[in-house]
């Protein structure tokens, strides 16, 4: 099952990947070796207990090496938040597409470029961080991505720069991606006291089967803030594995939101390590499933130092025979006294056949902490339904509004107006215009 990837790696090393610096080629080599040892996870693996990756293996996807020209700006409209003008890097089938990229100019002190360019222009930064954050020691998909590091975005926001507008990384797969796999690799570095918002969108143009395996590494410097919004709207036939791995410095803040509606099978990993005192991390998300979709989220928050907080709210609405998974881990290291952690997962099941496996976990090795976690799974609240009906709202509208409201509750936490409004409108349409 791993052989096609090993063969592809040989071809890739000799060909498309040959231009990379020596250290990067060496990193890829150790990653493919680790990938070969690990193999693909089975459901015996605790991290993959509720998600079988066998559909991905059956796909026998081949690595995609060049862009297709069939994507037009109009194709991107549904994913671009209607001409918000943001600085945007577009990747088609995993490869940077200069023609579709652009948008407003960046302020001084902000560097955004595709990886190949960053090897030349930001060599020290890239070598310092790439592959240093997202460990592939135990993660097959990260090993696979690392072995095929070739393209993606590098974002560097230098000290004290507060970026007012977001940067949008838009990964689209079109018909030429069918039966193929792309391995986008991104690096975000926000220096001391800087502030940035990055949107990562994954989208399919048309309905076809492909496999996206993305990894983003992020470093948030002391006193810096990163808002990371991941919007997974892949083709419903697609497979998607996406990992965000973050390292936070002292007094830094992370707001992460994962919105997942696409893909036949998707897995999103959001990991952060709070490595300085006074950090805060908020990990929120919303998954909307239907038909036979499988949508898995795994989060891990490592409280390494004292006096940090973490907040986590993941909500899901599952219809049809869709299957959701939430596996959230909060580790509190022995030194991390005064940790304040709260983790919540709520899922609304709209059909008898929909199901959720939820596993919020706390592992606490410090004695002076305040940590809570909880999960609920349920149907629409009868009292709320009655309240709405008692105001004259008909039963169907009441159900639709409450379903929307369940999602809107967590979408409200997105500060960026265009994205919040866009996702609210899409969610409202999804649950109020069904026939």
């Amino acid at each position: 099952m791993i052989e096609p990837y090993l063969r592809s790696f040989e071809a890739f090393s000799a060909n498309g990947g040959a231009a990379a610096p020596v250290w990067a080629r060496s990193l890829r080599l150790s990653a493919i070796t680790r990938f070969e040892t690990l193999g693909f996870p089975t459901t015996h693996n605790e991290d993959w207990h509720f998600t079988s990756v066998s559909p991905i293996l059956r796909g026998a996807f081949v690595p995609l090496t060049h862009t297709s020209g069939s994507v037009t700006p109009a194709d991107l409209d549904p994913f671009a938040f209607s001409a918000a003008g943001w600085h945007t890097l577009v990747f088609v089938n995993g490869r940077y597409h200069a023609g579709l990229s652009g948008g407003e100019a960046l302020p001084d002190g902000v560097h955004v470029m595709p990886l190949a360019q960053a090897y030349d222009e930001l060599p020290i930064l890239v070598e310092q961080h790439l592959g240093k954050i997202a460990s592939f020691d135990a993660h097959t998909f990260t090993a696979l991505n690392t072995a095929f590091i070739n393209d993606g975005a590098v974002i560097h926001v230098t000290q004290n720069v507060e970026l007012a507008r977001p940067i949008h990384l838009l990964f689209v797969s079109d018909t030429a991606a069918a039966r193929g796999t792309s391995q986008p690799r991104n690096l975000i570095v926000v220096d001391r006291h800087a502030k940035a918002t990055v949107i990562e969108s994954y989208a399919g143009v048309g309905e076809h089967e492909y496999f996206t395996n993305a990894v983003t590494e992020a470093v948030i410097g002391d006193g810096a803030t990163l808002t990371h919004l991941k919007l997974q709207r892949e083709s419903t036939q697609a497979f998607h594995v996406g990992t965000l791995d973050v390292r936070q410095g002292r007094d830094s803040h992370l707001f992460s939101f994962s919105f997942a509606t696409g893909g036949a099978l998707s897995r999103t990993n959001v990991y952060t390590e709070l490595r300085g005192e006074g950090c805060g991390a908020t990990l929120n998300g919303l998954y909307l499933g239907d038909d036979t979709q499988h949508i898995d989220h795994q989060t891990r928050i490592e409280h390494v130092e004292p006096n940090c907080y973490s907040r986590e709210l993941y909500k899901g609405i599952l219809d049809g025979a869709s299957h959701g998974v939430f596996n959230g881990k909060v580790f509190v290291h022995p030194a991390a006294q005064k940790t304040d952690g709260k983790q919540t997962n709520n899922t609304l099941l709209l059909s008898e056949r929909a199901q959720i496996d939820t596993k919020p976990q706390l592992e606490i090795f410090a004695d002076d902490v305040k940590c809570t976690h909880g999960a609920t799974v349920g149907r629409l609240d009868e009292t709320s339904l009655f309240y709405m009906k008692s105001r004259g709202i008909n039963a169907r509208t009441a159900r639709e509004l409450l379903t929307y409201a369940f999602a809107a509750d967590v979408l409200e936490t997105i500060e960026l107006d265009e994205v919040r409004h866009g996702l609210e409108a899409a969610t409202l349409r999804r649950y109020t215009e069904r026939t």
Binding site: E382, T383, S384, F386, Y387, M388, K389, S390, R391, G392, I393, N394, A395, T397, A398, L401, L402, Y404, A405, F406, A407, A408, D409, E412
Partner: protein, 250 residues
């Protein structure tokens, strides 16, 4: 307007209402009082159509129609409004959206055009003044994070917007300080018309200093044990409920 005859209802198999008979005419204010567990909140919920209560006997006729056969939303569209004792929080739906949805449903039921957002905003300006609420309440989610007083005022705001023919206030005074109580009562009094009626369900006489009833009914053990004028409320305030309960048993 409303004729309740020998109404019986159970919740989870337990009989709470044991034969209530009550007649409410347009233009009148009725107070329903009684100790905890007497069934007064159940009566309010049954009239609004709460699905947890099962009507096991009796009839309720509203403007000549069988109220018990109507779904809760149909009752509301026909002009019945229940101000909840515990207003429900609906995170994710703004107060403005909720009110406009309800208002338009009720207009549709009356055969009127839906209101556009601009005209609705004007209407809200006027109604918000009545309960001394500021605009920020409209953008907040329905009752989410509201204080007890804000929730009750929000109920009266909804009542002001929906203009019911029969308003049922279920312990609207509970948990209110005197200022909030005055605002709520002022709202209710201002909305009073010769064509509509109000049923005030309350444990205490205090609210009735502000919303003066034409009739007072005392509920105990799921029955009305005494009816009278507004003076009955004062008598209850002075003497408590026990003497009535003893009389009822005797």
């Amino acid at each position: 307007m409303l004729e309740i005859h020998d109404l019986r209802a159970t919740v989870a198999g337990k009989e709470i209402l044991r034969g209530i008979t009550l007649s409410v005419d347009a233009g009148s204010v009725h107070a329903v009082m009684g100790p905890n567990g007497s069934g007064k909140s159940t009566l309010a919920q049954v009239l609004a159509g709460h699905p947890a209560y099962e009507v096991t006997g009796g009839t309720v006729t509203y403007n000549g129609e069988n109220l018990l056969a109507m779904d809760p939303e149909v009752r509301a569209q026909a002009g019945i409004f229940l101000a909840f004792q515990y207003p429900v929080e609906i995170p994710g739906v703004s107060n403005a959206y909720f009110l406009r949805a309800a208002y338009n449903e009720i207009r549709k039921a009356r055969g009127e055009e839906e209101i556009d957002p601009m005209s609705f905003a004007d209407l809200m300006d006027e109604k918000m003044k009545l309960v001394e609420m500021d605009d920020s309440m409209l953008t907040r989610s329905v009752n989410a994070g509201f204080s007890g007083g804000e929730k009750k005022r929000n109920e009266i705001l909804q009542m002001a917007v929906l203009e019911p023919r029969l308003a049922i206030l279920d312990e609207t005074d509970s948990g209110l300080d005197i200022d909030a109580l005055r605002i709520v009562a002022h709202g209710v009094n201002t909305l009073k018309r010769p064509t509509n009626a109000t049923i005030v369900v309350t444990h205490y006489q205090r609210l009735l200093n502000y919303i003066v009833p034409d009739f007072v009914h005392v509920l105990a053990g799921g029955r009305i044990v005494r009816s009278g004028g507004k003076d009955l409320a004062l008598e209850l305030e002075a003497k408590g409920y026990d003497w009535l309960l003893e009389e009822a048993v005797a």
